[in-house]
């Protein structure tokens, strides 16, 4: 995957669209019968990255 792939929102959601298309088939393979609800989404990796940088910048300012 090229680094510049996420240069626009459209590109990002095109990837999301591809992932979306594949998921129902994968779910069917592994979960026949009545579905059960997955765990709720936690903090995303992107959110963790931003929090880490913000904390780093705040610590630098505090010095």
């Amino acid at each position: 995957m090229k680094p510049g792939m996420f240069e626009s929102i459209k590109d990002a959601f095109a990837v999301l669209g591809q992932a979306w298309k594949a998921i129902p088939e994968i779910v069917k393979l592994f979960r026949p019968g009545k579905p059960t609800l997955d765990r709720a989404l936690g903090e995303s990796q992107a959110e963790k990255e931003l929090r880490a940088i913000e904390e780093q910048r705040a610590a630098r300012k505090a010095k």
């Binding site: 999301l16 669209g17 579905p35 709720a40 990796q45």
Partner: protein, 141 residues
């Protein structure tokens, strides 16, 4: 009559559970692809502008738009998850009735971000949720 209603409700619940799980997995997949690109953009901007918040945010503005769009979609999924969880648990009380319209409102806000296929799936789900718990999202509980 009761059996028919129970069967219909169960089918709607299964559809809601599958859609909620599918959206969750899709968002996790998108995060897994986006996060390394995002981390590099943040690190580069941080190194270039360690003490200038304005220029730092300007440098990551495009990536920030994607970050925020994914955040809106994740919020919608979280509300949807809470609503479906209440529904599956058999909560016919106030909590489910309040949460379901809020999940629908969040989904509608995120809807323009989705592809045509996703929007079609959400239209079905929103209709299901509206049928089971009609109402307006007054405030998030």
């Amino acid at each position: 009559m009761v059996l028919v209603l129970t069967a219909c409700s169960s089918s709607l619940q299964d559809s809601a559970v599958r859609t909620t799980n599918g959206l969750g997995l899709a968002l996790e997949a998108a995060d897994a692809v986006f996060a390394p690109v995002w981390a590099k953009a943040l690190a580069d901007a941080n190194a270039a502008f360690p003490d200038d918040d304005g220029r730092f945010h300007q440098a990551v503005a495009t990536q920030m738009q994607i970050y925020e769009a994914l955040g809106i979609a994740r919020d919608a999924q979280r509300w949807l998850h809470l609503a479906v969880q209440q529904w599956v648990a058999g909560d016919e009380g106030a909590m489910w009735k309040e949460v379901a319209p809020c999940a629908v409102a969040e989904l509608r806000q995120a809807e323009p971000l989705f592809t045509a296929e996703q929007q079609a799936a959400f239209a079905v789900l929103i209709a299901d949720l509206d049928a089971v718990a009609p109402g307006v999202c007054v405030s998030h509980p």
